[in-house]
């Protein structure tokens, strides 16, 4: 039914436990070239843990993760380094190095991983800054930036080495709706103009329906459903309906049942 598309990330039967509690259970997933895949789920559903496994920061208990066809659960440090140079990551808190200026932050991966001349790096840094709409802000210290600007500088740093994949960890966390829309537009621009594959972890449903090509719904470490925006919107699954509509009533329970409350109080 679907035309053959190049798979850049393949996850097979990923399992992970933390202290006896299963955080990821039998996750299998393919991510195709130049698509925007959004991983959605409530707090503590394992979506950040899944992302940490894909970028090789965590090792699974069982299962495999392939990036560009290479099994990163078995890669040694040198192999992992060469894979890491092919993707970028935007962290939730942007994770800019506060001992460096904006310019130096973006230049750092180029300085360390390329043999480019310093004045060429300076030009490239300006281009990256322009791409995220922050032309002329290079000389600032990271402490002088607002939250949204930090995110955009983080994005400029993530695309410094012209990656093939960009991972976004909660790109809209802590941003106002307008800045969220700006960041979403940048994500869309990058994936359409440079055909970069994007993997986004978020729980902001507005931004999910703006940027996603496909959506993965995660609940308690398991995949509920993978599908397009329409498929998810029209899903029969009660958990998914509760999540995208943000209702309190539904299969996900947030309050302890009333039975036994009186005994607990008076015990």
């Amino acid at each position: 039914m679907e035309e053959k598309r190049e798979v850049v990330i393949r996850i097979e039967n990923l399992e992970k436990q933390f202290g006896g509690r299963k955080v990821l259970e039998g996750i299998s997933l393919d991510v195709y070239k130049s698509e925007t895949l959004v991983i959605v789920g409530g707090s503590g559903c394992g979506k950040s843990t899944l992302l940490r496994h894909i970028i090789g920061q965590l090792k699974p208990d069982a299962g495999k993760v392939y990036l560009f066809g290479k099994d990163i659960t078995k890669a040694n440090e040198d192999e992992m380094d060469s894979i890491k140079k092919r993707f970028g990551m935007l962290f939730q808190s942007a994770a800019l190095f506060d001992s460096l200026t904006v310019e130096e932050n973006i230049a750092l991966p180029m300085r360390e991983h390329t043999k480019l001349d310093d004045h060429i790096i300076k030009i490239m840094v300006k281009m990256k800054l322009n791409q995220v709409g922050l032309r002329g802000f290079g000389h600032l210290n990271t402490s002088q930036l607002s939250g949204g600007m930090k995110k955009r500088v983080g994005l400029a740093r993530a695309i410094a080495l012209d990656p093939e994949i960009i991972f976004y960890d909660e790109p809209s966390a802590g941003l106002d709706p307008v800045v969220t829309a700006v960041v979403d537009k940048l994500i869309l621009d990058l994936s359409s103009a440079l055909s970069i594959t994007s993997v986004v972890v978020t729980h902001d449903m507005n931004s999910v329906f703006r940027i996603a090509d496909r959506i993965v719904m995660l609940y308690k470490g398991k995949i509920l459903q993978i599908g397009t925006k329409e498929e998810i919107k029209n899903s029969k699954n009660e958990y998914i309906q509760q999540f995208i509509n943000g209702t309190i009533e539904g299969p996900m329970q947030f309050f302890a049942p009333d039975e036994g409350y009186l005994e607990e109080l008076t015990k």
Binding site: I55, M89, A95, S99, P109
Partner: protein
């Protein structure tokens, strides 16, 4: 039974921490010696900026601490030695005790408080704000880019500071000895150096080399293992100073014992 359990739990966690510090130490040695052979060098500017911070910027505090401790030693020594009519040996007392013991230990403690705590706070902040993870995803190993420069800076600069401190301590003794106790300048300087042998200086420097490793490793370990936000950074910073102090004194006792029994 509960006391035994508590003791067991503390012992186990302390054992795990010691193991982790040694693991960090060996990985540091790997990046320091083996990785450069495979063409992975450490950028010079990372090392120099740390050397400036750990060494050059510690000069003022080292100057004052060493100067006053030299002066104090002169006065305390004179109080005792005057009863024997041997006040001029104050010079020898200061030079030998500064080089063998007080210089290395005192300056290590000062540097642990100033530099070790700063390392723990900086790396701890980087850890809790995802900066360490960002380095890793940029294929930049934190040991290589953060730990090794600080380690190198401290094992080079702490002995250097100790040499300065030894000399400044002697200067402090000279000031009291000549201007207060009335020893003639020539006699003071002669006594100062007559009783000082190369071994005194070398054992002192060897100590401060080891203290430098301790400060760097504990500061980096505490920083990289920080958990839980700003409070965690504070805890790591305090712990780095406390643990460094204890380990410096412990290592001092062990090394002094070794030198003492080796020379008998």
């Amino acid at each position: 039974m509960n006391i035994l359990q508590a003791i067991g739990r503390v012992t186990l966690s302390a054992g795990a921490a010691i193991w982790d510090v040694f693991a960090l130490f060996f990985r540091t040695l790997y990046w320091l010696f083996y990785a450069p052979l495979r063409g992975k060098f450490i950028g010079r500017h990372y090392i120099f900026s740390q050397m400036v911070f750990a060494g050059v910027q510690s000069l003022l505090i080292v100057f004052f601490v060493a100067l006053f401790i030299g002066m104090v030693l002169a006065m305390q020594g004179a109080y005792q030695l005057s009863q024997l009519g041997a006040v001029r040996f104050v010079a020898a007392l200061i030079s030998v005790s500064m080089c063998r013991e007080i210089g290395p230990v005192l300056i290590a403690l000062v540097v642990a408080g100033r530099v070790g705590s700063a390392i723990a706070a900086e790396l701890g902040t980087m850890k809790v704000t995802e900066q360490i993870e960002a380095l890793e995803t940029m294929a930049m190993n934190p040991i290589r880019y953060l730990v090794v420069p600080r380690f190198l800076a401290l094992i080079v600069m702490l002995p250097a500071l100790t040499i300065m401190g030894d000399l400044i301590g002697m200067l402090g003794g000279y000031i009291v000895g000549v201007y207060n106790l009335g020893i003639s300048p020539g006699l003071y300087i002669k006594t100062n150096f007559d009783f000082l042998v190369l071994k005194d200086v070398m054992t002192g420097l060897l100590k401060s080399f080891v203290f430098g490793m301790i400060i760097a490793m504990i500061g980096c370990y505490m920083g990289l293992n920080t958990k839980g936000g700003a409070e965690g950074v504070g805890r790591s910073t305090t712990m780095s100073v406390v643990v460094s102090f204890i380990l410096i004194i412990l290592a001092d006792a062990i090394l002094t014992g070794l030198f003492y029994f080796a020379s008998v």
